[in-house]
Protein backbone atom coordinates (compact mmCIF):
# COMPACT_ATOMS: atom_id res chain seq x y z
CA UNK A 1 0.00 0.00 0.00
CA UNK A 2 1.37 3.40 -0.94
CA UNK A 3 1.93 5.77 1.93
CA UNK A 4 0.53 8.66 -0.06
CA UNK A 5 -2.58 6.74 -0.97
CA UNK A 6 -3.12 5.53 2.54
CA UNK A 7 -3.16 9.03 4.00
CA UNK A 8 -5.48 10.16 1.25
CA UNK A 9 -7.74 7.25 2.14
CA UNK A 10 -7.79 8.17 5.80
CA UNK A 11 -8.92 11.68 4.94
CA UNK A 12 -11.77 10.31 2.83
CA UNK A 13 -13.26 8.17 5.54
CA UNK A 14 -16.26 10.46 5.89
CA UNK A 15 -17.65 10.88 2.39
CA UNK A 16 -18.22 7.91 0.13
CA UNK A 17 -17.13 4.31 0.21
CA UNK A 18 -14.26 3.27 2.42
CA UNK A 19 -13.02 -0.30 2.50
CA UNK A 20 -10.87 -0.75 5.58
CA UNK A 21 -8.39 -3.62 5.70
CA UNK A 22 -10.83 -6.17 4.35
CA UNK A 23 -9.81 -9.81 4.13
CA UNK A 24 -11.75 -12.75 2.74
CA UNK A 25 -10.53 -16.27 3.25
CA UNK A 26 -11.95 -19.37 1.58
CA UNK A 27 -10.54 -22.22 3.63
CA UNK A 28 -6.81 -21.57 3.59
CA UNK A 29 -6.89 -19.39 0.48
CA UNK A 30 -6.89 -15.61 0.71
CA UNK A 31 -9.14 -14.33 -2.06
CA UNK A 32 -8.79 -10.80 -0.76
CA UNK A 33 -6.07 -9.80 1.66
CA UNK A 34 -5.96 -6.60 3.73
CA UNK A 35 -7.44 -4.46 1.01
CA UNK A 36 -8.00 -0.80 1.75
CA UNK A 37 -9.76 1.26 -0.89
CA UNK A 38 -11.79 4.40 -1.01
CA UNK A 39 -14.15 6.03 -3.43
CA UNK A 40 -15.47 9.48 -2.70
CA UNK A 41 -18.86 10.59 -3.82
CA UNK A 42 -18.33 12.11 -7.26
CA UNK A 43 -15.14 10.18 -7.92
CA UNK A 44 -14.49 7.52 -10.52
CA UNK A 45 -12.19 4.81 -9.22
CA UNK A 46 -10.76 2.05 -11.37
CA UNK A 47 -9.83 -1.42 -10.22
CA UNK A 48 -7.65 -3.60 -12.39
CA UNK A 49 -5.70 -6.78 -11.99
CA UNK A 50 -5.12 -10.08 -13.77
CA UNK A 51 -7.70 -12.85 -13.67
CA UNK A 52 -8.10 -14.29 -10.19
CA UNK A 53 -6.69 -11.18 -8.53
CA UNK A 54 -9.79 -10.95 -6.33
CA UNK A 55 -11.53 -7.99 -7.97
CA UNK A 56 -14.96 -9.55 -8.18
CA UNK A 57 -14.60 -11.03 -4.71
CA UNK A 58 -13.92 -7.52 -3.47
CA UNK A 59 -17.06 -6.31 -5.27
CA UNK A 60 -19.04 -9.07 -3.63
CA UNK A 61 -17.67 -8.08 -0.23
CA UNK A 62 -18.63 -4.44 -0.75
CA UNK A 63 -22.11 -5.26 -2.02
CA UNK A 64 -22.91 -7.69 0.78
CA UNK A 65 -22.98 -10.82 -1.34
CA UNK A 66 -20.05 -12.12 0.72
CA UNK A 67 -19.15 -11.29 4.30
CA UNK A 68 -15.55 -10.31 5.04
CA UNK A 69 -13.46 -12.62 7.25
CA UNK A 70 -12.05 -9.48 8.81
CA UNK A 71 -12.13 -5.76 8.18
CA UNK A 72 -14.98 -3.38 7.55
CA UNK A 73 -16.77 -1.53 4.80
CA UNK A 74 -17.94 2.02 5.53
CA UNK A 75 -20.38 4.12 3.60
CA UNK A 76 -20.61 7.79 4.47
CA UNK A 77 -18.59 7.12 7.60
CA UNK A 78 -21.02 4.47 8.84
CA UNK A 79 -19.96 0.81 9.00
CA UNK A 80 -22.20 -1.29 6.75
CA UNK A 81 -21.82 -4.33 8.94
CA UNK A 82 -22.17 -6.04 5.58
CA UNK A 83 -24.93 -8.51 6.20
CA UNK A 84 -26.81 -9.02 2.96
CA UNK A 85 -27.17 -7.64 -0.56
CA UNK A 86 -30.55 -6.16 0.41
CA UNK A 87 -29.16 -4.07 3.26
CA UNK A 88 -26.27 -2.86 1.11
CA UNK A 89 -28.67 -1.84 -1.64
CA UNK A 90 -30.79 -0.01 0.89
CA UNK A 91 -27.73 1.69 2.37
CA UNK A 92 -26.84 3.11 -1.03
CA UNK A 93 -24.54 0.69 -2.83
CA UNK A 94 -25.71 -0.45 -6.24
CA UNK A 95 -23.92 -2.84 -8.54
CA UNK A 96 -23.88 -4.44 -11.94
CA UNK A 97 -22.76 -7.99 -12.65
CA UNK A 98 -19.84 -9.29 -14.65
CA UNK A 99 -21.98 -12.12 -16.03
CA UNK A 100 -25.12 -10.16 -16.86
CA UNK A 101 -27.95 -10.85 -14.44
CA UNK A 102 -30.99 -9.15 -15.84
CA UNK A 103 -34.60 -10.08 -15.18
CA UNK A 104 -34.81 -11.45 -18.69
CA UNK A 105 -38.53 -11.99 -18.90
CA UNK A 106 -39.35 -8.51 -17.65
CA UNK A 107 -39.27 -5.51 -19.93
CA UNK A 108 -36.40 -3.03 -19.80
CA UNK A 109 -38.60 -0.55 -17.99
CA UNK A 110 -39.71 -3.17 -15.46
CA UNK A 111 -36.09 -4.08 -14.78
CA UNK A 112 -35.42 -0.49 -13.81
CA UNK A 113 -38.72 -0.27 -11.91
CA UNK A 114 -37.67 -3.12 -9.60
CA UNK A 115 -34.85 -0.99 -8.21
CA UNK A 116 -36.93 2.16 -8.26
CA UNK A 117 -39.57 0.49 -6.05
CA UNK A 118 -36.91 -0.22 -3.44
CA UNK A 119 -35.87 3.40 -3.48
CA UNK A 120 -39.42 4.65 -3.08
CA UNK A 121 -39.94 2.27 -0.17
CA UNK A 122 -36.92 3.71 1.61
CA UNK A 123 -37.80 7.36 1.08
CA UNK A 124 -34.30 8.57 1.93
CA UNK A 125 -34.38 12.23 2.76
CA UNK A 126 -32.62 14.85 0.71
CA UNK A 127 -32.39 12.74 -2.45
CA UNK A 128 -34.76 13.28 -5.30
CA UNK A 129 -36.54 10.22 -6.61
CA UNK A 130 -34.75 9.14 -9.77
CA UNK A 131 -37.10 9.23 -12.69
CA UNK A 132 -37.24 5.92 -14.56
CA UNK A 133 -37.91 7.57 -17.91
CA UNK A 134 -35.01 9.95 -17.45
CA UNK A 135 -32.63 7.11 -16.61
CA UNK A 136 -33.75 5.13 -19.64
CA UNK A 137 -33.29 8.21 -21.77
CA UNK A 138 -29.81 8.98 -20.43
CA UNK A 139 -28.63 5.48 -21.23
CA UNK A 140 -30.24 5.48 -24.65
CA UNK A 141 -32.75 2.79 -23.80
CA UNK A 142 -36.01 4.70 -24.29
CA UNK A 143 -36.72 3.19 -27.68
CA UNK A 144 -36.54 -0.35 -26.30
CA UNK A 145 -38.19 0.29 -22.92
CA UNK A 146 -41.06 -2.11 -23.57
CA UNK A 147 -38.99 -4.98 -24.97
CA UNK A 148 -38.12 -7.98 -22.85
CA UNK A 149 -34.64 -7.43 -21.45
CA UNK A 150 -33.52 -10.92 -22.49
CA UNK A 151 -34.14 -10.09 -26.16
CA UNK A 152 -31.72 -7.16 -26.28
CA UNK A 153 -28.25 -7.36 -27.79
CA UNK A 154 -25.37 -7.80 -25.38
CA UNK A 155 -24.18 -4.21 -25.27
CA UNK A 156 -27.65 -2.94 -24.50
CA UNK A 157 -28.10 -5.52 -21.76
CA UNK A 158 -25.05 -4.06 -20.05
CA UNK A 159 -26.64 -0.63 -20.26
CA UNK A 160 -29.84 -1.95 -18.71
CA UNK A 161 -27.76 -3.27 -15.80
CA UNK A 162 -26.36 0.21 -15.27
CA UNK A 163 -29.79 1.84 -15.60
CA UNK A 164 -31.21 -0.58 -13.05
CA UNK A 165 -28.43 0.18 -10.58
CA UNK A 166 -28.94 3.92 -11.03
CA UNK A 167 -32.62 3.68 -10.14
CA UNK A 168 -31.54 2.90 -6.57
CA UNK A 169 -30.13 6.45 -6.44
CA UNK A 170 -26.96 4.96 -4.94
CA UNK A 171 -24.21 6.84 -3.22
CA UNK A 172 -21.71 4.49 -4.77
CA UNK A 173 -22.19 2.33 -7.83
CA UNK A 174 -20.01 -0.70 -8.61
CA UNK A 175 -19.58 -1.52 -12.29
CA UNK A 176 -18.19 -5.02 -12.81
CA UNK A 177 -16.62 -5.15 -16.27
CA UNK A 178 -19.15 -2.84 -17.92
CA UNK A 179 -17.30 -2.84 -21.26
CA UNK A 180 -16.92 -6.61 -21.53
CA UNK A 181 -18.12 -7.79 -24.91
CA UNK A 182 -18.42 -4.28 -26.30
CA UNK A 183 -16.66 -3.16 -29.44
CA UNK A 184 -14.33 -0.15 -29.41
CA UNK A 185 -17.04 2.27 -30.44
CA UNK A 186 -19.45 1.08 -27.77
CA UNK A 187 -16.86 1.12 -25.03
CA UNK A 188 -15.84 4.61 -26.08
CA UNK A 189 -19.45 5.74 -25.76
CA UNK A 190 -19.56 4.04 -22.37
CA UNK A 191 -16.77 6.30 -21.09
CA UNK A 192 -18.86 9.39 -21.61
CA UNK A 193 -21.87 7.59 -20.16
CA UNK A 194 -19.95 6.80 -16.98
CA UNK A 195 -18.84 10.43 -16.65
CA UNK A 196 -22.35 11.63 -17.38
CA UNK A 197 -23.72 9.34 -14.65
CA UNK A 198 -21.25 10.75 -12.16
CA UNK A 199 -22.13 14.33 -13.08
CA UNK A 200 -25.87 13.83 -13.22
CA UNK A 201 -26.34 11.58 -10.19
CA UNK A 202 -23.36 12.71 -8.16
CA UNK A 203 -22.43 9.23 -7.03
CA UNK A 204 -19.08 7.59 -6.57
CA UNK A 205 -18.26 4.96 -9.18
CA UNK A 206 -15.98 1.94 -8.83
CA UNK A 207 -15.19 0.32 -12.17
CA UNK A 208 -13.60 -3.08 -12.65
CA UNK A 209 -12.36 -3.56 -16.18
CA UNK A 210 -9.96 -5.58 -18.27
CA UNK A 211 -9.95 -3.06 -21.06
CA UNK A 212 -6.91 -0.98 -20.09
CA UNK A 213 -7.54 1.78 -22.55
CA UNK A 214 -11.02 2.16 -21.13
CA UNK A 215 -9.97 2.16 -17.50
CA UNK A 216 -7.00 4.51 -17.96
CA UNK A 217 -9.26 7.04 -19.58
CA UNK A 218 -12.26 6.80 -17.33
CA UNK A 219 -10.79 6.57 -13.85
CA UNK A 220 -9.36 9.33 -11.69
CA UNK A 221 -7.82 6.98 -9.19
CA UNK A 222 -6.62 3.50 -10.02
CA UNK A 223 -6.06 0.48 -7.80
CA UNK A 224 -4.12 -2.53 -9.04
CA UNK A 225 -4.81 -5.88 -7.42
CA UNK A 226 -2.67 -8.97 -7.60
CA UNK A 227 -3.18 -12.23 -5.71
CA UNK A 228 -5.84 -10.71 -3.50
CA UNK A 229 -3.90 -7.62 -2.45
CA UNK A 230 -3.74 -4.05 -3.69
CA UNK A 231 -0.16 -3.61 -4.89
CA UNK A 232 -0.28 -0.10 -6.31
CA UNK A 233 -2.73 2.76 -6.24
CA UNK A 234 -2.67 6.29 -7.56
CA UNK A 235 -3.58 8.41 -10.58
CA UNK A 236 -3.71 6.34 -13.79
CA UNK A 237 -0.67 8.10 -15.29
CA UNK A 238 1.53 7.14 -12.34
CA UNK A 239 0.19 3.63 -12.12
CA UNK A 240 0.77 3.03 -15.78
CA UNK A 241 4.48 3.58 -15.37
CA UNK A 242 4.90 1.78 -12.07
CA UNK A 243 7.42 -1.06 -12.37
CA UNK A 244 5.41 -3.48 -10.24
CA UNK A 245 2.31 -2.99 -12.31
CA UNK A 246 4.18 -3.52 -15.54
CA UNK A 247 5.63 -6.66 -14.09
CA UNK A 248 2.46 -8.34 -12.74
CA UNK A 249 -0.20 -7.00 -14.95
CA UNK A 250 0.84 -5.29 -18.10
CA UNK A 251 3.67 -7.82 -18.03
CA UNK A 252 5.72 -8.88 -20.99
CA UNK A 253 3.18 -7.62 -23.45
CA UNK A 254 3.85 -4.02 -22.45
CA UNK A 255 7.59 -4.41 -22.69
CA UNK A 256 7.55 -5.82 -26.15
Amino acid sequence: MDVAASTAVAANRGSGLFVDNVTKQFGGVYAVRDVTLSCEVGQIVGLIGPNGAGKTTLMNLISGTLTPTSGNVYLGGQPLGATSPETCAEAGIARTFQNIRLFKRLTVRENVEVASITFRRLKREGIEVPNVDEILDLLGLSAMADLKAGHLPYGHQRRVEIARALALAPRVILLDEPAAGMNEQESHALISSVRMIRDRFGCGIVVIEHDLKFIMEVSELLYVMHLGAVIVSGPPEEVRHDERVIEVYLGRKARK
Binding site: A115, I117, R120, L122
Partner: protein, 354 residues
Protein backbone atom coordinates in the same frame (compact mmCIF):
# COMPACT_ATOMS: atom_id res chain seq x y z
CA UNK B 1 -55.88 4.17 -7.62
CA UNK B 2 -54.48 4.21 -11.09
CA UNK B 3 -53.31 0.64 -10.62
CA UNK B 4 -56.79 -0.37 -9.47
CA UNK B 5 -58.38 1.02 -12.63
CA UNK B 6 -55.78 -0.55 -14.86
CA UNK B 7 -56.33 -3.93 -13.22
CA UNK B 8 -60.09 -3.53 -13.63
CA UNK B 9 -59.63 -2.82 -17.32
CA UNK B 10 -57.21 -5.68 -17.86
CA UNK B 11 -59.28 -8.26 -16.02
CA UNK B 12 -62.53 -7.17 -17.64
CA UNK B 13 -62.13 -9.30 -20.78
CA UNK B 14 -61.74 -12.73 -19.13
CA UNK B 15 -64.32 -11.92 -16.47
CA UNK B 16 -66.92 -10.83 -19.03
CA UNK B 17 -66.35 -13.85 -21.26
CA UNK B 18 -66.46 -16.31 -18.35
CA UNK B 19 -69.55 -14.66 -16.88
CA UNK B 20 -71.33 -14.76 -20.23
CA UNK B 21 -70.57 -18.46 -20.73
CA UNK B 22 -71.48 -19.24 -17.11
CA UNK B 23 -74.78 -17.36 -17.35
CA UNK B 24 -75.75 -19.19 -20.54
CA UNK B 25 -75.03 -22.52 -18.89
CA UNK B 26 -76.87 -21.55 -15.72
CA UNK B 27 -80.08 -20.67 -17.53
CA UNK B 28 -80.11 -23.02 -20.49
CA UNK B 29 -78.03 -26.11 -19.78
CA UNK B 30 -78.98 -29.34 -18.06
CA UNK B 31 -78.37 -29.96 -14.38
CA UNK B 32 -75.27 -32.12 -14.89
CA UNK B 33 -73.76 -29.48 -17.16
CA UNK B 34 -74.35 -26.85 -14.50
CA UNK B 35 -72.49 -29.13 -12.08
CA UNK B 36 -69.56 -29.38 -14.49
CA UNK B 37 -69.53 -25.61 -14.91
CA UNK B 38 -69.54 -25.21 -11.15
CA UNK B 39 -66.53 -27.53 -10.86
CA UNK B 40 -64.81 -25.48 -13.55
CA UNK B 41 -65.27 -22.20 -11.69
CA UNK B 42 -64.26 -23.78 -8.39
CA UNK B 43 -61.09 -25.23 -9.91
CA UNK B 44 -60.42 -21.88 -11.57
CA UNK B 45 -60.47 -20.23 -8.15
CA UNK B 46 -58.01 -22.78 -6.78
CA UNK B 47 -55.74 -22.71 -9.84
CA UNK B 48 -55.52 -18.92 -9.90
CA UNK B 49 -54.98 -18.91 -6.16
CA UNK B 50 -52.04 -21.25 -6.71
CA UNK B 51 -50.77 -19.04 -9.56
CA UNK B 52 -50.48 -16.09 -7.19
CA UNK B 53 -47.73 -17.88 -5.32
CA UNK B 54 -46.22 -20.14 -7.97
CA UNK B 55 -46.34 -17.73 -10.87
CA UNK B 56 -44.85 -14.78 -9.08
CA UNK B 57 -42.30 -16.44 -6.81
CA UNK B 58 -41.27 -19.16 -9.25
CA UNK B 59 -41.46 -21.73 -6.45
CA UNK B 60 -43.63 -24.74 -7.31
CA UNK B 61 -46.11 -25.61 -4.58
CA UNK B 62 -47.75 -28.99 -4.15
CA UNK B 63 -49.29 -27.93 -0.86
CA UNK B 64 -52.04 -25.50 -1.81
CA UNK B 65 -54.84 -28.05 -2.00
CA UNK B 66 -54.40 -28.35 1.78
CA UNK B 67 -55.68 -24.80 2.17
CA UNK B 68 -58.75 -25.90 0.25
CA UNK B 69 -59.12 -28.78 2.69
CA UNK B 70 -58.63 -26.72 5.82
CA UNK B 71 -61.25 -24.15 4.87
CA UNK B 72 -63.69 -26.82 3.68
CA UNK B 73 -63.36 -28.74 6.95
CA UNK B 74 -63.79 -25.60 9.06
CA UNK B 75 -66.93 -24.68 7.14
CA UNK B 76 -68.25 -28.23 7.50
CA UNK B 77 -67.58 -28.53 11.22
CA UNK B 78 -69.11 -25.14 11.96
CA UNK B 79 -72.24 -25.45 9.83
CA UNK B 80 -73.42 -29.08 10.11
CA UNK B 81 -76.65 -29.09 12.17
CA UNK B 82 -76.10 -30.20 15.78
CA UNK B 83 -78.27 -33.31 15.51
CA UNK B 84 -76.30 -34.59 12.52
CA UNK B 85 -73.04 -33.62 14.12
CA UNK B 86 -73.88 -35.67 17.21
CA UNK B 87 -74.13 -38.82 15.14
CA UNK B 88 -70.98 -38.10 13.11
CA UNK B 89 -68.45 -36.55 15.48
CA UNK B 90 -69.90 -36.90 18.97
CA UNK B 91 -66.52 -36.42 20.65
CA UNK B 92 -65.52 -33.26 18.78
CA UNK B 93 -62.82 -31.37 20.70
CA UNK B 94 -62.97 -27.72 21.84
CA UNK B 95 -66.75 -28.04 22.37
CA UNK B 96 -67.24 -27.91 18.61
CA UNK B 97 -69.90 -30.58 18.89
CA UNK B 98 -72.22 -28.03 20.50
CA UNK B 99 -71.79 -25.02 18.22
CA UNK B 100 -73.40 -24.21 14.93
CA UNK B 101 -72.91 -21.00 12.99
CA UNK B 102 -74.78 -19.51 10.10
CA UNK B 103 -73.06 -20.04 6.77
CA UNK B 104 -71.67 -16.53 6.36
CA UNK B 105 -70.04 -16.47 9.81
CA UNK B 106 -68.68 -19.97 9.26
CA UNK B 107 -67.18 -18.96 5.93
CA UNK B 108 -65.50 -15.91 7.45
CA UNK B 109 -64.06 -18.03 10.26
CA UNK B 110 -62.89 -20.64 7.74
CA UNK B 111 -61.08 -18.03 5.68
CA UNK B 112 -59.49 -16.53 8.80
CA UNK B 113 -58.33 -19.93 10.08
CA UNK B 114 -56.86 -20.81 6.68
CA UNK B 115 -55.05 -17.50 6.43
CA UNK B 116 -53.60 -18.05 9.90
CA UNK B 117 -52.49 -21.53 8.88
CA UNK B 118 -50.99 -20.17 5.66
CA UNK B 119 -49.11 -17.54 7.60
CA UNK B 120 -47.60 -20.05 10.03
CA UNK B 121 -46.61 -22.49 7.29
CA UNK B 122 -45.36 -19.56 5.23
CA UNK B 123 -42.87 -18.62 7.92
CA UNK B 124 -41.13 -21.90 7.14
CA UNK B 125 -41.64 -21.92 3.38
CA UNK B 126 -40.26 -18.42 2.78
CA UNK B 127 -36.82 -19.38 4.05
CA UNK B 128 -36.24 -22.25 1.70
CA UNK B 129 -35.47 -21.98 -2.00
CA UNK B 130 -35.43 -24.43 -4.86
CA UNK B 131 -36.11 -28.13 -4.50
CA UNK B 132 -36.02 -27.99 -0.70
CA UNK B 133 -38.84 -25.46 -0.68
CA UNK B 134 -40.89 -27.53 -3.08
CA UNK B 135 -40.45 -30.66 -0.96
CA UNK B 136 -41.57 -28.62 2.04
CA UNK B 137 -44.82 -27.72 0.27
CA UNK B 138 -45.33 -31.40 -0.50
CA UNK B 139 -44.87 -32.14 3.20
CA UNK B 140 -47.61 -29.61 4.01
CA UNK B 141 -49.96 -31.54 1.71
CA UNK B 142 -49.14 -34.88 3.33
CA UNK B 143 -49.35 -33.55 6.88
CA UNK B 144 -52.78 -32.04 6.27
CA UNK B 145 -54.01 -35.23 4.64
CA UNK B 146 -52.83 -37.26 7.60
CA UNK B 147 -54.55 -34.89 10.02
CA UNK B 148 -57.83 -35.00 8.04
CA UNK B 149 -57.61 -38.80 8.09
CA UNK B 150 -56.40 -39.42 11.60
CA UNK B 151 -58.08 -36.79 13.77
CA UNK B 152 -61.26 -38.83 13.73
CA UNK B 153 -62.89 -36.98 16.63
CA UNK B 154 -62.76 -33.76 14.65
CA UNK B 155 -62.99 -34.79 10.99
CA UNK B 156 -64.61 -38.23 11.10
CA UNK B 157 -61.46 -39.46 9.41
CA UNK B 158 -61.68 -41.26 6.07
CA UNK B 159 -65.46 -41.47 6.30
CA UNK B 160 -67.03 -38.35 4.85
CA UNK B 161 -68.63 -35.53 6.80
CA UNK B 162 -72.12 -34.87 5.46
CA UNK B 163 -75.02 -32.55 6.14
CA UNK B 164 -73.27 -29.27 5.31
CA UNK B 165 -76.01 -26.81 4.35
CA UNK B 166 -75.90 -26.29 0.61
CA UNK B 167 -75.60 -22.55 0.26
CA UNK B 168 -73.65 -22.15 -2.95
CA UNK B 169 -74.64 -22.22 -6.57
CA UNK B 170 -73.11 -21.44 -9.95
CA UNK B 171 -73.52 -17.63 -9.67
CA UNK B 172 -71.55 -17.66 -6.41
CA UNK B 173 -68.74 -19.61 -8.03
CA UNK B 174 -68.71 -17.17 -10.94
CA UNK B 175 -68.58 -14.24 -8.57
CA UNK B 176 -65.76 -15.83 -6.59
CA UNK B 177 -63.71 -16.52 -9.72
CA UNK B 178 -64.17 -12.94 -10.93
CA UNK B 179 -62.92 -11.71 -7.57
CA UNK B 180 -59.96 -14.09 -7.64
CA UNK B 181 -58.99 -13.10 -11.21
CA UNK B 182 -59.05 -9.45 -10.21
CA UNK B 183 -56.97 -10.00 -7.06
CA UNK B 184 -54.42 -12.17 -8.86
CA UNK B 185 -53.92 -9.62 -11.62
CA UNK B 186 -53.78 -6.80 -9.13
CA UNK B 187 -51.03 -8.55 -7.20
CA UNK B 188 -49.11 -9.60 -10.30
CA UNK B 189 -48.85 -6.03 -11.56
CA UNK B 190 -48.33 -4.47 -8.14
CA UNK B 191 -44.94 -3.29 -6.92
CA UNK B 192 -44.65 -6.34 -4.69
CA UNK B 193 -45.65 -8.60 -7.55
CA UNK B 194 -43.07 -7.08 -9.88
CA UNK B 195 -40.27 -7.39 -7.34
CA UNK B 196 -41.26 -10.96 -6.56
CA UNK B 197 -41.28 -11.86 -10.26
CA UNK B 198 -37.86 -10.28 -10.56
CA UNK B 199 -36.62 -12.52 -7.75
CA UNK B 200 -37.88 -15.57 -9.58
CA UNK B 201 -35.87 -14.50 -12.61
CA UNK B 202 -32.63 -13.84 -10.82
CA UNK B 203 -32.39 -14.13 -7.08
CA UNK B 204 -29.01 -12.47 -6.54
CA UNK B 205 -29.75 -9.54 -8.82
CA UNK B 206 -33.11 -8.98 -7.13
CA UNK B 207 -31.55 -9.01 -3.69
CA UNK B 208 -28.85 -6.63 -4.87
CA UNK B 209 -31.63 -4.28 -5.94
CA UNK B 210 -33.00 -4.34 -2.40
CA UNK B 211 -35.84 -6.83 -3.01
CA UNK B 212 -36.93 -8.37 0.30
CA UNK B 213 -37.54 -11.79 -1.17
CA UNK B 214 -38.62 -13.59 2.00
CA UNK B 215 -41.12 -10.94 3.00
CA UNK B 216 -42.65 -10.92 -0.49
CA UNK B 217 -42.79 -14.70 -0.67
CA UNK B 218 -44.66 -14.82 2.62
CA UNK B 219 -47.09 -12.19 1.37
CA UNK B 220 -47.76 -14.12 -1.84
CA UNK B 221 -48.07 -17.42 0.05
CA UNK B 222 -50.67 -16.03 2.48
CA UNK B 223 -52.60 -14.26 -0.27
CA UNK B 224 -52.70 -17.37 -2.42
CA UNK B 225 -53.67 -19.45 0.63
CA UNK B 226 -56.60 -17.09 1.14
CA UNK B 227 -57.73 -17.39 -2.49
CA UNK B 228 -57.45 -21.18 -2.47
CA UNK B 229 -59.45 -21.21 0.77
CA UNK B 230 -62.30 -19.60 -1.15
CA UNK B 231 -62.14 -22.63 -3.43
CA UNK B 232 -62.49 -24.88 -0.38
CA UNK B 233 -65.56 -22.95 0.75
CA UNK B 234 -67.09 -23.35 -2.71
CA UNK B 235 -66.41 -27.09 -2.54
CA UNK B 236 -67.96 -27.71 0.88
CA UNK B 237 -71.00 -25.49 0.47
CA UNK B 238 -71.97 -26.98 -2.90
CA UNK B 239 -71.46 -30.70 -2.34
CA UNK B 240 -72.66 -30.78 1.26
CA UNK B 241 -70.31 -33.65 1.96
CA UNK B 242 -66.51 -33.75 2.12
CA UNK B 243 -63.78 -36.32 2.75
CA UNK B 244 -59.99 -36.21 3.02
CA UNK B 245 -59.39 -37.71 -0.43
CA UNK B 246 -60.81 -34.62 -2.12
CA UNK B 247 -57.79 -32.65 -0.88
CA UNK B 248 -54.92 -34.86 -1.88
CA UNK B 249 -52.90 -35.93 -4.89
CA UNK B 250 -55.74 -36.25 -7.40
CA UNK B 251 -56.88 -32.68 -6.87
CA UNK B 252 -53.28 -31.44 -6.65
CA UNK B 253 -52.43 -32.94 -10.03
CA UNK B 254 -55.60 -31.65 -11.61
CA UNK B 255 -54.81 -28.10 -10.51
CA UNK B 256 -51.13 -28.50 -11.35
CA UNK B 257 -51.95 -29.62 -14.89
CA UNK B 258 -54.20 -26.57 -15.34
CA UNK B 259 -51.53 -24.18 -14.13
CA UNK B 260 -48.68 -25.75 -16.09
CA UNK B 261 -50.58 -26.17 -19.37
CA UNK B 262 -51.73 -22.56 -19.44
CA UNK B 263 -48.47 -21.10 -18.18
CA UNK B 264 -47.92 -20.51 -14.50
CA UNK B 265 -46.52 -17.02 -14.85
CA UNK B 266 -49.67 -15.63 -16.41
CA UNK B 267 -53.13 -15.31 -14.85
CA UNK B 268 -54.62 -15.46 -18.33
CA UNK B 269 -52.62 -18.62 -18.96
CA UNK B 270 -54.15 -20.29 -15.93
CA UNK B 271 -57.64 -19.39 -17.19
CA UNK B 272 -56.85 -20.97 -20.55
CA UNK B 273 -55.28 -24.01 -18.89
CA UNK B 274 -58.24 -24.52 -16.58
CA UNK B 275 -60.68 -24.32 -19.48
CA UNK B 276 -58.73 -26.80 -21.62
CA UNK B 277 -58.13 -29.28 -18.81
CA UNK B 278 -61.76 -29.10 -17.72
CA UNK B 279 -62.99 -29.88 -21.22
CA UNK B 280 -60.28 -32.51 -21.68
CA UNK B 281 -60.99 -34.37 -18.47
CA UNK B 282 -64.71 -34.31 -19.18
CA UNK B 283 -64.02 -35.94 -22.55
CA UNK B 284 -61.68 -38.42 -20.93
CA UNK B 285 -64.29 -39.26 -18.34
CA UNK B 286 -66.83 -39.94 -21.06
CA UNK B 287 -64.41 -42.12 -23.01
CA UNK B 288 -63.44 -43.92 -19.82
CA UNK B 289 -66.91 -45.41 -19.53
CA UNK B 290 -66.82 -46.82 -23.04
CA UNK B 291 -69.50 -44.78 -24.81
CA UNK B 292 -71.23 -45.60 -28.10
CA UNK B 293 -69.69 -43.68 -30.98
CA UNK B 294 -71.34 -43.97 -34.41
CA UNK B 295 -72.91 -47.23 -33.41
CA UNK B 296 -69.73 -48.91 -32.16
CA UNK B 297 -69.20 -49.53 -28.50
CA UNK B 298 -65.79 -48.27 -27.37
CA UNK B 299 -63.98 -50.33 -24.73
CA UNK B 300 -64.07 -49.05 -21.15
CA UNK B 301 -60.73 -47.54 -20.24
CA UNK B 302 -60.51 -47.27 -16.53
CA UNK B 303 -58.13 -44.52 -15.33
CA UNK B 304 -58.11 -42.58 -18.59
CA UNK B 305 -58.69 -39.28 -16.77
CA UNK B 306 -55.57 -39.69 -14.65
CA UNK B 307 -53.60 -40.75 -17.72
CA UNK B 308 -54.81 -37.66 -19.55
CA UNK B 309 -53.57 -35.33 -16.79
CA UNK B 310 -50.22 -37.09 -16.59
CA UNK B 311 -49.83 -36.93 -20.36
CA UNK B 312 -50.60 -33.20 -20.39
CA UNK B 313 -47.95 -32.51 -17.75
CA UNK B 314 -45.35 -34.67 -19.53
CA UNK B 315 -46.02 -33.10 -22.94
CA UNK B 316 -45.99 -29.62 -21.48
CA UNK B 317 -42.72 -30.15 -19.70
CA UNK B 318 -41.01 -31.53 -22.80
CA UNK B 319 -42.53 -29.38 -25.54
CA UNK B 320 -43.57 -26.07 -24.04
CA UNK B 321 -42.25 -25.49 -20.57
CA UNK B 322 -43.65 -21.97 -20.31
CA UNK B 323 -47.18 -23.14 -21.01
CA UNK B 324 -49.50 -21.87 -23.70
CA UNK B 325 -49.43 -18.22 -22.66
CA UNK B 326 -45.84 -18.02 -21.38
CA UNK B 327 -45.37 -14.64 -19.71
CA UNK B 328 -48.18 -12.92 -21.53
CA UNK B 329 -51.57 -11.85 -20.31
CA UNK B 330 -54.50 -11.45 -22.71
CA UNK B 331 -53.91 -7.70 -22.88
CA UNK B 332 -50.26 -8.28 -23.87
CA UNK B 333 -51.30 -10.58 -26.69
CA UNK B 334 -53.82 -8.04 -27.93
CA UNK B 335 -51.32 -5.20 -27.69
CA UNK B 336 -48.62 -7.17 -29.52
CA UNK B 337 -51.04 -8.10 -32.26
CA UNK B 338 -52.11 -4.49 -32.64
CA UNK B 339 -48.48 -3.37 -32.68
CA UNK B 340 -47.46 -5.88 -35.35
CA UNK B 341 -50.51 -4.96 -37.42
CA UNK B 342 -49.58 -1.30 -37.19
CA UNK B 343 -45.98 -2.10 -38.13
CA UNK B 344 -47.22 -4.11 -41.10
CA UNK B 345 -49.50 -1.28 -42.23
CA UNK B 346 -46.65 1.19 -41.91
CA UNK B 347 -44.39 -1.08 -43.95
CA UNK B 348 -47.10 -1.42 -46.61
CA UNK B 349 -47.62 2.31 -46.97
CA UNK B 350 -43.86 2.79 -47.08
CA UNK B 351 -43.64 0.19 -49.86
CA UNK B 352 -46.41 1.90 -51.78
CA UNK B 353 -44.72 5.26 -51.41
CA UNK B 354 -41.58 3.78 -52.93
Amino acid sequence: MNHLLRTARNSALPIIVLTAVGTLIYFFAEAYQVRIAYAFFMNLVVAIGLQVFMGNSGVVSFGHVSFMGVSAYVVAILTIPLALKKTQIPDAPFGLGFVQFDVVTAILIALAVTVAFAWVSGLLIKRVSGAAGEILTLAVLVICYVVFNAWIDLTRGPRSLYGIPIASSLPWAMLASAFVIFVAKFFRDSEDGLQLRASSENMLAARSMGVRVERLRLKAWVLSGFLVAIGGVLHATYLGTIGPNSYYFTQTFLIMAMVILGGMRSVSGVIVGTALISVGSELARTLENGPMVFGTKLPTMFGLTGFFLGAVIVLCMTLRRDGIMGDDEFEDVLRNRRASKAAKAAADTAAQAV
